[in-house]
């Protein structure tokens, strides 16, 4: 096993620590004793061929899937027993590979709903959300930061695919998370949109801790501080982009096939 994790990191610098995590579906191991650490402030890319268990892993982290065994620690606190909403409130936000916006709502409403969740309870049945300036101003701010300010009143289901992917990202950002998990943010995007998003993500560097799944290797090697490689549910390597490039096993298992 190519153990490439640098040992000189201070322990409390770890934001997410995954130990021996497992999940199987009807006997097929989707994740098989996975160990990953994500440091504060880094962009950590998760790569691997289709069906390697990457999406399963981040669903386990975000709490959509409950793990069969293993331990997830976030900010020093074990979270394996928590459900998705509780994990979200702790500061884990994720985007989906298949766009998962609320199609009936406008862009601003989508983003506002993400902010609202982290902004007190939502049992108020009387006061219109549209009159809550704090939420709405912040929503506009987030949309503008990602270049969607003009689309704020457009129904999100009517957006073009690339714009929907952008909105997906905006929703995750709006939660102001400690850990931002992105599942193929560039999926199905054209060249120009891709460059825009990569630049945007680069701008988030050091402001957010990001765990990102991506198939676009150019983007991965541009953005990532560290890269983990998954094949058949196992983590076969983890290290800096240079280390991963040099790793013989990764090259034969994944990069070489490309």
């Amino acid at each position: 096993m190519g153990c490439l994790v640098s040992r000189d990191l201070v322990m409390n610098n770890t934001l997410l620590k995954i130990t021996d995590l497992n999940k199987s579906f009807g006997g097929v191991c989707a994740t098989d004793n996975v160990n990953v650490e994500v440091e504060r402030g880094e962009i950590h890319a998760l790569i691997g061929p289709n069906g390697a268990g990457k999406t399963t892993l981040i669903s386990q982290i975000s709490g959509i899937l409950q793990s069969d065994s293993g331990e997830i620690q976030f900010d020093g606190i074990p979270i394996s027993h928590m459900k998705a909403p509780a994990r979200s409130l702790m500061g884990i936000a994720r985007s989906f590979q298949i766009t998962s916006i609320l199609r009936e709502f406008t862009c601003q409403e989508n983003v506002a709903l993400a902010i609202q969740a982290h902004f007190g309870h939502s049992y108020n049945m009387w006061k219109p959300v549209s009159s809550e300036d704090k939420i709405q101003n912040r929503a506009v701010e987030v949309l503008e930061s990602i270049g969607m300010g003009e689309l704020r009143d457009t129904t999100s289901g009517d957006l073009a695919h690339g714009e929907q992917r952008q909105l997906e990202l905006a929703i995750a950002l709006a939660m102001d998370p400690k850990l931002l998990i992105l599942d193929e943010p560039l999926a199905g995007m054209g060249r120009i949109d891709s460059v825009k998003i990569v630049n945007f993500l680069n701008g988030l560097k050091r402001k957010f801790t990001i765990l990102v799944i991506e198939h676009d290797m150019d983007a991965v090697f541009t953005l990532a501080d560290r890269i983990s490689v998954m094949v058949y549910g196992r983590l076969i390597a983890s290290g800096t982009p240079d280390e991963i490039r040099a790793d013989a096993m990764v090259r034969s298992a994944y990069l070489g096939v490309d």
Binding site: P85, A93, L102, E104, M175
Partner: protein
């Protein structure tokens, strides 16, 4: 933008028409010397109240409850059972009805909301059927013959009386308007957005940090309580309550009213109730076996206009819907 405005205009015209009809019905009844119309419209508005409450969970929340008539039954039986023991205090009846409805909705919602899709439909249906059979099996309260209520609810004041048909009518009218306004506020509030978001994409909402089960349950209880208000009023109009009020076909009719009027539109349930009644009047003039026409008509509505009357209003709106 102009097309949108015309949609808005059509909605406004329909709203004025529907609400205006309800507001003026007693006056029309007086002029036409048809006092019968007052009770008829009272009944209609009670259906509307039940349908408005169902619209909260069905139209906005996406929860297909096929047992909503249960809460009409709870409201009506509360009045009936109190009356059976010669207790007519309106406030006591109201508070009890609300409490019982909330409690039952908490339990039944807690059970059924653990499930999804077709399980939810069948469980809500079965639980209401359970209470229906329970009410049939209790002979003390009239079993399937029902309970006759000898006196209407008493407000403890001379200012307003349930026995005065016009006063009773406008009380029901006010309750209906209050329910409409409450829905209008609710769906624009934080809570409303969470409920609508959960209908649209539950996983997304969970990941955003919402414990959707709790919000759904609160909404379910709210709808049950609102519907029970309709039941309390119904007992006062009919002076009678029987298990029929929670028969499963009644739940089906309520769903149809909501769909007919247009799901997730504020006024839809009222329009739906009104049109439902007009249709049943119309078809039953043609033949006493009017379900022979009504059944296929219902199927046609589902097949041709799944978005109901509110959907028809926007039919000229071009572009993607």
């Amino acid at each position: 933008m102009r097309v949108l405005n015309s949609l808005q205009n059509r909605r406004t015209i329909l709203a004025i028409l529907v609400i205006g009809t309800c507001a003026l019905a007693p006056i029309a009844a007086g002029i036409l010397d048809q006092p019968y119309y007052i009770n008829l419209f009272s009944r209609l508005m009670i259906w509307a109240i039940a349908a408005i409450s169902l619209n909260l969970i069905l139209g906005y929340g996406g929860m297909i409850s096929f047992g909503h008539s249960l809460y009409l039954g709870i409201g009506a039986y509360t009045v009936g059972i109190f009356a059976y023991y010669d207790i007519y205090n309106f406030y006591l009846q109201l508070v009890t009805a609300v409490a019982v409805a909330a409690f039952i909705a908490l339990i039944f919602g807690g059970i059924s909301l653990r499930t999804r899709g077709v399980y939810f439909i069948m469980i809500t249906m079965a639980l209401t059927q359970m209470v229906y059979f329970l009410s049939i099996s209790i002979e003390e309260y009239g079993s399937d013959d029902g309970l006759i209520i000898y006196d209407r609810s008493d407000f403890g004041t001379d200012l307003i009386s349930m026995d005065n048909p016009v006063q009773r009518y406008y009380l029901i009218f006010l309750v209906m308007i209050a329910c409409l306004y409450f829905s209008h506020r609710l769906i624009r509030s934080r809570f409303g957005y969470v409920i609508r978001g959960t209908k649209s994409n539950e996983t997304r909402m969970e990941v955003l940090g919402y414990s959707t089960f709790r919000y759904r349950l609160v909404c379910f209880i709210l709808a049950g309580v609102m519907c029970a208000l309709g039941g309390v009023l119904s007992a006062n109009v009919e002076k009678f309550v029987s298990p029929d009020i929670m028969h499963w076909t009644r739940s089906g009719e309520l769903i149809f009213m909501v769909v007919l009027g247009g799901m997730a539109s504020i006024l839809g349930p009222v329009t739906g109730a009104l049109v439902f009644w007009l249709l049943s009047e119309f078809f039953s003039r043609i033949t006493e076996h009017w379900h022979l026409i009504f059944g296929p008509f219902l199927i046609l509505v589902v097949l041709l206009s799944p978005r109901g009357i509110d959907g028809l209003l926007s039919i000229k709106r071009s572009g993607n819907e």
